[in-house]
Chain length 216, copies 2
């Protein structure tokens, strides 16, 4: 049984790592970061040591309570079940379904199509178009869904797991120069989220492994 | 408030639809199927009527209890919370985390990369190689994880949400001619699953919209 602080294997720029960093910040869970640089040394996620920890060779992975969990949403659901305050899933099962639908839309429907390993396969010259297409196609759907679920945040007026997926995905959209004008609801929620302390401290530009030139 | 039977918008061959069909069968939930043919008429998921229902233009979607839920895992989690018997998530939070990790590995890490819309983008001549690469890369990780989590099924000896993802993904692997020899744990679990009634009745070759030549 592991004792001591949870360890988050994270990369500052990984949007999936950011989701988990927000959850840890919101729930006020003290943790250590082990930086896994996805581009240095041909990708530190491919090291034997890291593969033994997460065979998917992806970040994030969280060592906590004697186990190691991969997959950001599985990690967040575990944190929610074992450290329920503040809650990241509403009480009402129908609202919970909306939160999970929005989360999965981003985590299965958008992010995997524009992550580093896929873009490598697509080839340098097609990367930007490919990523933009994945994001706009997902955001077209997301904007429509949020128009009926959102209050101040993605589902109603409380921050939920869906918001932990939204802000990092909007950051990816920015990175790939996606025009956000057609997405007023997404943009508005994102702005509200970025004003929150937990989103601020967990931001890619403020991590232990953020290179000096990208710090803010 | 909707009354009457739940309606599942499904396509016989969609692996994500199959996940939900298994859940409905295991939980003995009576439902109606509305077939959405993903290839006919340029794709019935693109109709205005269906887009209003699920802006992601994907199956499955489930109309139930007065709401419509998209995203297969969000649907399954909702069914689990509102119709908890038999359970598809273990009681122990650590085991639940393992179930969700395996489910997300497939639902975010494999399936989205080999689904119909991505393969269209990749182009006819590259489709098979692309799909095989996505599946073998995911299965390499999955095999390693299952070696430490599996009993008779993906996590221990009870069927869980992870198994609802596994069998449909193995069917996709078959379809894309992936050699399963390197994956004895995956293959063994899949065989046990296919022997279960709920996996049998929900199988792509036994759906209302299965074409006669693919029926078994």
């Amino acid at each position: 049984m592991q004792v001591g602080k949870p360890i988050l294997y994270s990369y500052f720029r990984s949007s999936c790592s950011w989701r988990v960093r927000i959850a840890l910040a919101l729930k006020n869970i003290d943790y250590e970061t082990v930086a896994i640089n996805l581009t240095k040394d041909g990708g530190q996620q491919f090291s034997e040591e890291f593969q033994a920890l997460n065979p998917m060779k992806q970040v994030p992975a969280l060592k906590i309570d004697g186990i190691t969990i991969g997959q950001s949403l599985a990690i967040i659901e575990y944190l929610e079940e074992t450290r329920p305050t503040p809650r990241l899933l509403p009480r009402d099962p129908k609202k919970r379904a909306q939160v999970r639908m929005v989360s999965d839309l981003i985590a299965s429907g958008i992010q995997p199509l524009q992550n580093l390993s896929v873009l490598k396969q697509v080839g340098q010259e097609n990367q930007l178009t490919w990523a933009q297409q994945a994001i706009t196609s997902g955001f077209n759907a997301l904007e429509q869904i949020l128009q009926s679920t959102a209050g101040r945040y993605c589902v109603g007026d409380e921050v939920s797991m869906a918001d932990l997926c939204l802000a990092p995905q909007v950051a990816n959209a920015d990175r790939f120069k996606v025009d956000l004008t057609p997405y007023p609801t997404i943009s508005h929620i994102n702005k509200s989220l970025l004003a929150l302390e937990a989103f601020h401290v967990s931001h890619p530009c403020r991590q232990p492994d953020t290179p000096p030139e990208l710090r803010a």
